[in-house]
Symmetry: C2
Subunit: 159 residues, 2 copies
C-alpha cells in the first residue's frame, strides 16, 4: 500500500498503518488467506483468486521482499518455485482470523459461515480470542483445521 | 472494496473477502482505527489522516451505509453530525488490535511501538488474545486505554 498511498499514509507513526502498508493493498490479504489454507503455487493462487497474473506476481514479489512469504524451489527443470508463509507471515494469522470472524458474525447472511475453523481432533469452534469453545485450549495455527461451513465455501479448505 | 475490486472478488464466498469488501478499501481501516481512538468529527478525521476531503466523505458515507458508523447530530444551527462506531463497528476491534500487534511486533523498528494499549487502571499490556499480561483478565474495548509508546505516536491517543 505504501507507494500507492503516498507519503501521508506512510508517514503515520502507527502500527496499524505500517501493517496496512505491507498487507493492505488490494488482494494482498486474500493471497495471505489462501496461503494459510495451504495454497503455495502461482497457478493455484491465480485460479482461486481470478486476478490478473501480473498483479498477482507483483503482490507475491512484494510479500517476499517484505519477508511475509518465502520462495522455495519445488522443481529443477524447468525451475519452479512455490510461496510459503514465513514465521513473520504466520504471525498474520490472528489478523486473518479476526477479519474472518467479523465476516461470519455480520456478513454471512442466512446461510451462515462459508467455512468453519475447528480445533483439530476436538471439533470445537474458535472464540474471538482463538480459544476452543469446547475444551478451552488456547489455539495456535497448527491446532486448527478449516472445513466447509453451512454457507458453502466455493474456496476449498486446503489446510 | 466491493465495487472497485469487481465481481470476482465480491463473488468469493469467504468471510475474509466480505469483510475486506466493507473495510478493505484504502484508508478505511485507518478511519476505523481513529474512530476507536475517539475521533468523531469530519474535520478531525481529515486533519489526522491528511486525505482528500471527498475521499474521506465517500469512505465515511460507505461505512454509515454498511452499518459500521452512525451519524449523530451534535449541533443544530448549522446542522453538524459526528460519526460514531455502531455495535457492529465496535466488533472490528479485534481486527484492529491484531493488525496493530503485528505492526508492533514486526515493523516498529528500534524505537518500539508508537502507541501502547494498556489495561485501564491495571497498566498491563494486551497479549495476542487481548488478555491482560499482568492480571490475566480477558479485555474488552472499554477496559483498554491507549498511551504513547516509546516509538512516539504522532497520532495522539484520544481514547
Amino acid at each position: 500500500m505504501g507507494r500507492m498511498l503516498g507519503r501521508t499514509y506512510e508517514s503515520q507513526r502507527c502500527s496499524v498503518a505500517r501493517t496496512l502498508e505491507l498487507v493492505g493493498e488490494r488482494w494482498t490479504l486474500l493471497i495471505i488467506r489462501d496461503a494459510f489454507l495451504g495454497v503455495r503455487r502461482f497457478g493455484d493462487f491465480a485460479d482461486r483468486l481470478g486476478i490478473a497474473r501480473n498483479v498477482l506476481q507483483d503482490r507475491l514479489e512484494r510479500l517476499v521482499e517484505a519477508g511475509v512469504l518465502t520462495k522455495v524451489p519445488y522443481q529443477e527443470r524447468p525451475l519452479r518455485h512455490e510461496y510459503r508463509l514465513t514465521e513473520m507471515g504466520r504471525d498474520l494469522w490472528p489478523s486473518i482470523v479476526a477479519l474472518l470472524q467479523f465476516g461470519d458474525q455480520h456478513l454471512a447472511g442466512e446461510t451462515g459461515p462459508p467455512m468453519l475453523l475447528l480445533h483439530r481432533g476436538c471439533g470445537g469452534e474458535l472464540d474471538a480470542r482463538r480459544i476452543c469453545t469446547t475444551c478451552g485450549t488456547p489455539l495456535e495455527l497448527g491446532d486448527v483445521e478449516s472445513v466447509p461451513g453451512p454457507g458453502g465455501a466455493r474456496i476449498p479448505a486446503a489446510a
